[in-house]
Each structure stands twice: as structure tokens, then as C-alpha cells.
Symmetry: C2
Subunit: 77 residues, 2 copies
Amino acid sequence: MSKAIFYHAGCPVCVAAEQNVAAALDPQRYNVEVVHLGEAKTRVAEAEQAGVKSVPALVLDGQPYHINFGAGIDALK
Amino acid sequence: MSKAIFYHAGCPVCVAAEQNVAAALDPQRYNVEVVHLGEAKTRVAEAEQAGVKSVPALVLDGQPYHINFGAGIDALK
């Protein structure tokens, strides 16, 4: 089982990406964790270390994939 | 079965997104078509109509999701 983390900030762009891209991942292969960085500010550093520069972003096997653009990560600190 | 189209241009950013994000979609629910816009220039207009502004991009159920940034679509015309 691979780990997928979907970082977002509750914005409309984030919600659309969560409901479509994150929800489209294969549940047989991916364990998807959804993290709202506006509510879990302690995890902003973790997202940055994974290379996340904006939300929404999906980190798959440690690699960051930014999906469209909702907000820069600096706005969430 | 939903339709997913992954548009790319063969760039390293595109290949990474294809091998990770596009390949992570649930094959039980999504039929994924991979389109290389550099080789299939006739499909650039179709991608633009779906709202694709850069590659790599994934169009899920008609909605465009740009994944990181490889190249702007204008560079593929």
C-alpha cells in the first residue's frame, strides 16, 4: 500500500481537486490522507519538506504534485 | 466508467506525472487515455476547449487539473 497525502486549505480549487483527483486514486494501492493545512498548521513544515509550494497538492510516494493553484503555502503559515 | 485524459508533451515533468498521478488512478473507475500533444497537434484545440493551459494536465470528467508545470500549451502549437 502506498501513501498519498492530499494537502489543501479548504478553498474552492482545493475542494474540486479533492473530490476529483484525490478521490480518483486507486484505493487498492493508495492509502489517502487528507490534510487541511489551515486547521493543521503544525503540518505546514512537513508539507514544505516534501516540496509542496502551493495547495492543493498531492504527495505520492514522497513526490509533490501541485494540482491547479488555490493558495501559496506562505499564505498558510 | 469515467473518462480521464492525460495530456503531456514528453517533458520530464510530464513523464513523472504520468508515471505517478495518471498511473495511480483507479482502473476500476477510470479509463485513462494518454495524449502526447507534441505528436498529436490536432488535439491541442480539444485540450484547450477542456480548459488545459499547460501540460502535464489531467482532464477528469471534463474538468482540467494541471499537475505541476512542464510547458504552456501555446508552446505546443
